[in-house]
């Protein structure tokens, strides 16, 4: 019922290529997410960041290349199998489902619980007990992400920033070993951004998971990331620590050559 305690295995992306109708969205991209680090994937619009996430969570199949989580190959697995292995994600556009915050978080417990149609319909004692235990854990995660007071509020009534946090909390409910965050602060105001950054930092420290981060907000990337991979037109053009990447001439050119890396913080 509690978080997985062992260190997550490394997530290795090896020469992944994705094509749509002749268009190459990802071209032999490789990077490794070391256990318990925050790894940012950045790049201009259309660089292939979202495609990359969709490969990691099993929504797209690459034409070549592999994704491995420790010993497990993820490349050919269906999304729900990848989720069961402890890879959770959020979406760039908020995708919450109808119902309360609790309902959404309980969806995050889906892969960790067992009750099927018959057990739930007949309300067998084990289904009732399971639901109660998972609800307790979902509440803990809500507290951790600052949603405790909103636990029973319908998601439709929440502010934009709160809904983004519901997505984060729902992903955490999977007790992930690897957390994929797709533009977690996009569209947020300054205050919300700061809070989100704090929450991400806290959960990473507390739950000991690896984080892959796609984000346009360079400030956030530089503050949170241990390592950065830069994509442009589907290819990896740079890689390294935030400081190394910031000084890389290729990166500067990709960002329209204007020098500072912050102008794309949409």
């Amino acid at each position: 019922m509690t978080a997985r305690t062992a260190a997550p295995p490394p997530l290795e992306v090896r020469e992944v290529t994705v094509r749509f109708a002749g268009l190459t969205a990802l071209d032999e991209v490789s990077f490794t997410v070391a256990p318990r680090t925050v790894h940012a994937v950045i790049g201009p619009n259309g660089a292939g960041k979202s495609t990359c996430f969709n490969v990691l969570s099993g929504l797209y199949r690459p034409v070549s290349g592999t994704v491995r989580l420790g010993e497990r190959e993820l490349t050919r697995l269906a999304p729900h199998r990848i989720a069961a292995l402890g890879v959770a994600r959020t979406f760039q556009n908020i995708v919450t489902t109808q119902g309360t915050v609790a309902d959404n978080l309980m969806l995050g417990r889906h892969a960790l619980s067992r009750a099927g149609f018959a057990a739930s319909a007949l309300r067998l004692p084990r289904a009732v007990r399971e639901q109660r235990e998972h609800l307790a854990r979902a509440r803990e995660i809500a507290e951790l992400t600052g949603l405790g007071a909103l636990f029973d509020t319908p998601v439709a009534l929440l502010s934009y920033g709160d809904r983004k946090r519901v997505e984060l909390a729902r992903a955490l409910c999977l007790e992930p070993r690897v957390l994929l965050l797709d533009e977690p602060v996009a569209g947020m105001n300054a205050g919300e951004r700061v809070r989100m950054a704090e929450v991400v930092g806290e959960v990473r420290a507390e739950l000991g998971l690896s984080v892959v981060l796609v984000e346009h907000d360079m400030g956030l990337v530089m503050r949170l990331a241990d390592e950065v991979t830069v994509l442009d037109f589907g290819r990896r053009i740079a890689h390294g620590t935030p400081d190394q990447v910031r000084r890389d001439p290729e990166v500067l050119r990709a960002y329209l050559g204007t020098g500072a890396g912050g102008e794309d913080a949409a």
Binding site: H80, F117, R170
Partner: protein
């Protein structure tokens, strides 16, 4: 304490429903019986179309499988099983029929499934007409009465309880009530449990559901199977109430009736499906009975061109579907909730904290018209 209170609130309608056969005549009991059967079927369809967002126009087929399955299994032409066993097997048979369709039901999404399930109604109707050694063909078959532990749910032997003669309607009323209670209990368990949340997620975003670990095709198929089983149960109860089953009853129009029930009641809730079922079932029966007192409506069979009660009812609920989708996407349940909230606000001064029931709850998505996930 609040738990006790909640149960107490449920007890009153239950007692009321149990007492009704002592006061109502056969006409009203039949309306109630048909409504209960329809409600069981509608709850099943609500689970599929309202909760999981999978449109089905094939519900009549599964009602037919349940009804004919029971008739054949319990009848002299078939194995002649004890009727209670036949009832259970008929429900399982309907579920199995739904399972056979799962290669389609698991992979075809949303409104497209509505088109695919048209096939079930038309092919099913054809089979009912053709396989006359089992189904009795065009003229149908008579339905063997249900018997449980020596107690027969039919006209019987002049049994009277507290001075009220207990004929088929009275007896079947209690059967219907028991089966409806079972439906209510199980469907709410499903909706509030893990499967219900997975189905809602599937409806709202297939991608989000999948990355949260929901096996998309399996859950779609399972929703279809469960929905078919409720339809099968409704079919058995309807067969018992009609005492005769004929193929023409299980037409596309019946499927559309069930869809109307869940839309009118409000998608995604058991209470909504029930309210819609009562509305769609009782309306034509009541209009037939009171045709002479209604303006614009002629008595049944009074010639061409005049507006008969059945037609008037169809007009009404056809229009009700459109109006509800346009103006009150959460159906009757939504209207009731808003009315309750307004009442509660009026009773208490404005300073009182708003209770959760008063919060404007967003309606279910299959009809959640204006909110679009970006």
């Amino acid at each position: 304490m609040s738990d006790l209170l909640r149960r107490g609130r449920l007890l009153i309608p239950v007692l009321l429903l149990c007492a009704l056969p002592f006061y109502l005549d056969a006409f009203w009991l039949r309306i109630g019986l048909f409504s209960m059967a329809a409600a069981i079927g509608a709850v099943g369809l609500g689970l599929l179309s309202g909760t999981a967002g999978q449109l089905s126009l094939g519900h009549a087929f599964f009602l037919a499988v349940g009804a004919y399955g029971y008739v054949w299994l319990a009848g002299d032409d078939g194995p002649g099983l004890p009727p209670a066993v036949a009832l259970v097997l008929a429900v399982l048979l309907a579920g199995a029929a739904g399972g056979l369709f799962s290669p389609v039901a698991g992979r075809v999404k949303g409104i497209y499934l509505g088109v695919a399930t048209l096939a079930l109604v038309f092919l099913g109707h054809h089979v009912l007409l053709t396989a006359d050694s089992v189904t009795g063909g065009f003229n149908g078959s008579s339905v063997p009465p249900l018997e449980v532990g020596g107690f027969a749910f039919d006209q019987g032997d002049g049994l009277a309880v507290l001075g009220v003669p207990f004929g088929a309607e009275e007896r079947l009323w209690y059967l219907g009530l028991a089966l409806f209670a079972l439906t209510w209990f199980t469907a709410r368990g499903l909706l509030r449990g893990r499967p219900g949340r997975a189905l809602v997620a599937l409806r709202d975003s297939e991608t989000a559901a999948a990355v949260m670990g929901v096996h998309v095709a399996r859950y779609r198929s399972a929703a279809f199977v469960v929905s078919s089983m409720y339809a099968g149960l409704a079919g058995v109860l309807l067969a018992l109430a009609f005492r005769r089953v004929v193929p023409d009853y299980f037409s596309l129009a019946l499927s559309v009736d069930y869809l109307a029930m869940i839309v009118i009641g409000g998608l995604g809730s058991v209470a909504g499906a029930t309210a819609g079922a009562v509305f769609v079932t009782a309306l034509p029966l009541l209009m037939t009975r009171y045709a002479d007192q209604l303006p614009l409506v002629a008595a049944p069979g009074s010639g061409d061109g005049s507006l008969g009660p059945t037609e008037a009812a169809r007009y009404l609920y056809g229009a009700a579907i459109v109006v509800i989708l346009l103006f009150a996407p959460d159906g009757l349940t939504g209207l009731a909730r808003r009315a309750r909230a307004r009442l509660a606000r009026r009773r208490r001064p404005a300073s009182a904290p708003s209770d959760p029931g008063a919060a404007p709850r967003p309606p279910a998505t299959a009809v959640r018209a204006k909110e679009h996930t970006p």
